[in-house]
Subunit: 241 residues, 2 copies
């Protein structure tokens, strides 16, 4: 079972000026592929912080995804941080410079050469119709912060992450969460591998708790669902999906 | 200058089923109060992971805020994690049990007593009209995951975090980011304390880059803004706010 961590880099998110939509997107897509996202962290545009977080995430997980900090300005420090995480130098990549020059139609200026400066040994993967490739260092996939570009890039390499997907069932319950907690515990004792979520809903009129049951094993999931439905009073169950 | 970290706890966020709106809310509100949010981390419902992250956040920052994992079911492990972070026991709090019993009108059941089980020595702060108080352990403020409740609780104690607010100016620039990077670097050399953000916008027709300039010192900010506007070609500036 593959695990992943997402490292979101950007002062604009920590200061509340921009809402990060990239980590929700990646969580959803990776889950759909069967990858277990274990951690999301949002950190400032600082080389040492980026290096520390990327290193720790890379050591602990199969895949790491970074978002943000790859432009041409002073606050774009992700490449430097990732290079430091892996103890490699930053070098101007001639192939990327050539792509930039084709895209803008003139010789690259200093800022554009900065954008083409990558950790030594980086793997470059073509990303569909985008002129800038996906940059991969070790198990770290460096994505831009602009959501449209991040999504295009992820789409272009998503088959690299295909695993065994989760199967999900939902049970909508009319009871209060505290009235069904014992039933949930009993089901988990019998089905310890079940991923069981319990979420109170305060604005729904027809149910009070959404239960989510998940497993990569569809049979196991159905047996656990049966066990749960057997335990819950019939009148407590609003809907099963 | 006060710093803060936000620890979001919940498998439902990592698995992409729920989008976390609590950390964007807290980032925005804390920024408005002058608190510097330095880190947001989203982690699973696991006692050891919660304990480790809360401990590290508590050591490194003035304020820590947790979101989620405080209900009555098996996956509500935040109180256990926070207790472990501080090396204290979990104990049933009689005052909270009494509040629960007043709210539901009958003796608390086992699940409700679980909700009233708090780290020993926790400070309880009344939260307006909510029956469950804000729980504070050391510098860690434990909030529920339901956004309406989290916001009510934060509102009821926000005056505890009042600092010196940031002043923000915005410059909308028609040039490409790579064409103004040198100017930004020059301004930062003269005004090293300036917080300067540069954000490309690919869907705006009238400008291509949003620059944000921030400081707690309004005079310093205006001098830095003047220096920037002096450097940028007049035709490159679409708007200043």
């Amino acid at each position: 079972m593959a695990s992943a961590a997402i490292v979101v880099i950007g002062n604009e998110i920590l200061s509340g000026k921009v809402v990060d939509t990239n980590s929700p997107y990646l969580c959803r897509e990776l889950r759909g592929l069967g990858v277990d996202v274990r951690r999301v962290v949002v950190i400032p545009d600082e080389i040492d912080t980026i290096a520390r977080e990327v290193r720790a995430a890379s050591d602990a997980h199969d895949f790491v995804f970074t978002s943000g900090g790859v432009g041409p300005t002073h606050d774009d420090l992700t490449m430097d941080g990732v290079a430091k995480a892996f103890g490699v130098a930053i070098e101007v990549n001639d192939a990327v410079v050539a792509r930039i020059e084709r895209a803008v139609g003139e010789p690259a200026n200093a800022s554009q050469r900065k954008m083409a400066s990558l950790p030594a040994g980086a793997l470059l993967i073509d990303a569909g119709d985008l002129w800038f490739p996906v940059v991969v260092i070790g198990n770290v996939h460096v994505f831009p912060g602009i959501p449209e570009l991040l999504q295009k890039k992820f789409d272009s390499i998503r088959s690299r992450f295909q695993g065994v997907p989760f199967v999900l069932r939902r049970v909508y319950v009319r009871s209060r969460e505290s009235d069904i907690a014992d039933h949930l515990n009993a089901v988990l004792e019998a089905y310890p591998e079940l991923m069981l979520g319990s979420y109170p809903r305060i604005h729904e009129s027809e149910y009070h708790v959404l239960l989510t049951l998940e497993s990569r094993d569809a049979d196991y999931l159905e047996r656990a669902l049966d066990a749960l439905l057997t335990r819950l009073p019939a009148e407590a169950v609003h809907k099963v999906e």
